[in-house]
C-alpha cells in the first residue's frame, strides 16, 4: 500500500515536470515576439503600433477580402508590430543590437538570414519548428520604419523560404505590411 502510494506520487511528480516543460515552451512563443519588440523599443528609444485586429480579419468574419489580405491568410496566425516614422538611425545596431537580438532568441529560434546594411537597415529571419507548422520571425528595421512579424507557415511556404531566404523574407514582409495598411471595412 505504502509502495503504491509512493509510485503514484512519483508518477504525479513526473507528470508535473512534463506539464511544466510544455507550458514553458508554449509561454515562450508569446514571450519571444514581445521581448523582441521591447528590445527594439528600448535599444532605439522608439514606440511600436500593434495590429491586433489583423489576426482576426479573416478568421472570424466572412467578409470579402482584398487580394492582399487573402494572400496573408496563407500564413495562418500571425502577429505584427509596426514602427512608423521613428528614428532608427540614432544608434548603430550593426554589432550591439545584432548580439542582443541573437541572445534574446537563440537557441530556441534558429537564425536563417541576417542582412545588415548601413544605408538600408537591418533584416533578420529566425525560424522555429512547431509541430506541423513552422514559425518565422522577421525583424526589418529601416532608417524611419520597422516591422516585427511572426507568422506560421505551412511546409510548402517554409520550403520556399529556405530555398530563397532573402527573396521570400521580403515577400512575406511586404504581404503582411500591405495587408496591415488596408482598411478591413
Amino acid at each position: 500500500m505504502r509502495h503504491s502510494r509512493r509510485n503514484l506520487l512519483l508518477l504525479l511528480l513526473s507528470l508535473c515536470v512534463c506539464a511544466s516543460s510544455a507550458h514553458s515552451a508554449g509561454a515562450g512563443k508569446e514571450a519571444e515576439y514581445n521581448t523582441v519588440v521591447r528590445l527594439i523599443e528600448s535599444y532605439y528609444h522608439v514606440k511600436h503600433k500593434g495590429i491586433p485586429v489583423l489576426a482576426n480579419i479573416g478568421m472570424k468574419t466572412a467578409k470579402v477580402l482584398s487580394s492582399d489580405v487573402r494572400r496573408v491568410m496563407r500564413f495562418g496566425d500571425f502577429k505584427l508590430a509596426i514602427f512608423e516614422d521613428q528614428d532608427f538611425s540614432a544608434r548603430d545596431g550593426f554589432v550591439e543590437f545584432h548580439q542582443q537580438l541573437r541572445q534574446t532568441l537563440q537557441p530556441a529560434w534558429s537564425p536563417l538570414l541576417a542582412v545588415r546594411a548601413r544605408d538600408e537597415g537591418l533584416t533578420y529571419t529566425f525560424t522555429k519548428e512547431d509541430g506541423e507548422k513552422y514559425k518565422v520571425l522577421i525583424i526589418a528595421l529601416a532608417q524611419r520604419d520597422g516591422t516585427v512579424l511572426q507568422v506560421d507557415l505551412n511546409r510548402a511556404e517554409f520550403i520556399k523560404l529556405l530555398q530563397d531566404p532573402e527573396g521570400q523574407t521580403k515577400n512575406i514582409t511586404d504581404d503582411a505590411t500591405s495587408a496591415a495598411n488596408e482598411d478591413p471595412e
Partner: protein, 216 residues
Amino acid sequence: MKNYTLLKLLTLIICAAGAMTTHAQVRYPAQLQIDTLEPLAAKANQVVDVNLPESLLRLIPIDAIKINNDTDAKDTNTKELKQIIAGLKGVYVKNFEFINEGEYTDADIAPIRAQLKAPGWARFVNVINKREGRKIEVYLMTAPQGARVEGLAILAAEPKALTVVNIVGIIDIEKLSKLEGQFGIPELDIEADKPAEKKPAKSSPAVAPAALTKKP
C-alpha cells in the same frame, strides 16, 4: 531494488521531458565557426549571414527542388542539384561588403584560416586574379580515408568584399557551381573544368579539380 527501478524510470521521464524542449544541434568536423569573423562587421557597410543547418535542409523534399530557369524537371542541372542537396548537412554563408578598398586585412580572416589548418582540411584550389585584386581559395575536408569530400569552405576575397561559404556534407565538387544562387550562396563564378583539361591533384580525393573563372 524496486526503488532503484522507479528512480531510473523517473530519470527517463524527466530526460524525455527535457529533450522535448531542447534543440540539439549536431556539429560536424567540417562546420566552421564562421561567426569568428563577426568583429569585421564593425568595419563593413553590409553584412549578410545565411544559416541552413541540417535540421532545416532535411525539410526540403528533394523532388521539390527545381532550378528557376529550368522548364523541364528532368533537366540535367536540376537532377545534379538534387544529388548534391541529398548529401548536404549544412550551408553557411557570411558576406561582407566595404565602401573602400583595404578595409580588411589578412589578420581579419585569420580566425577562419586557423580553423582550416585543422586535420582533414586541405587547400584544393587557389586562384589569384591580380588585375582585379580577387583571390578565391577552396578548401576541402576529406574523410580520414581520403575517399570522399565531407565539407568545403570557399574564401572569396575581393578589394571591397569578403565572402566565406561553408558547405557541410558529402559533395562532388565538380557539381559545386550548381549550388550558386541557391540557399543564399552567392554567385562566385565557380565553374568546373572538363576532366580532360586538368590532371587531378595528388593529395585530392577522387574528383576532378574545379577551376574558378570569371564569367564574362
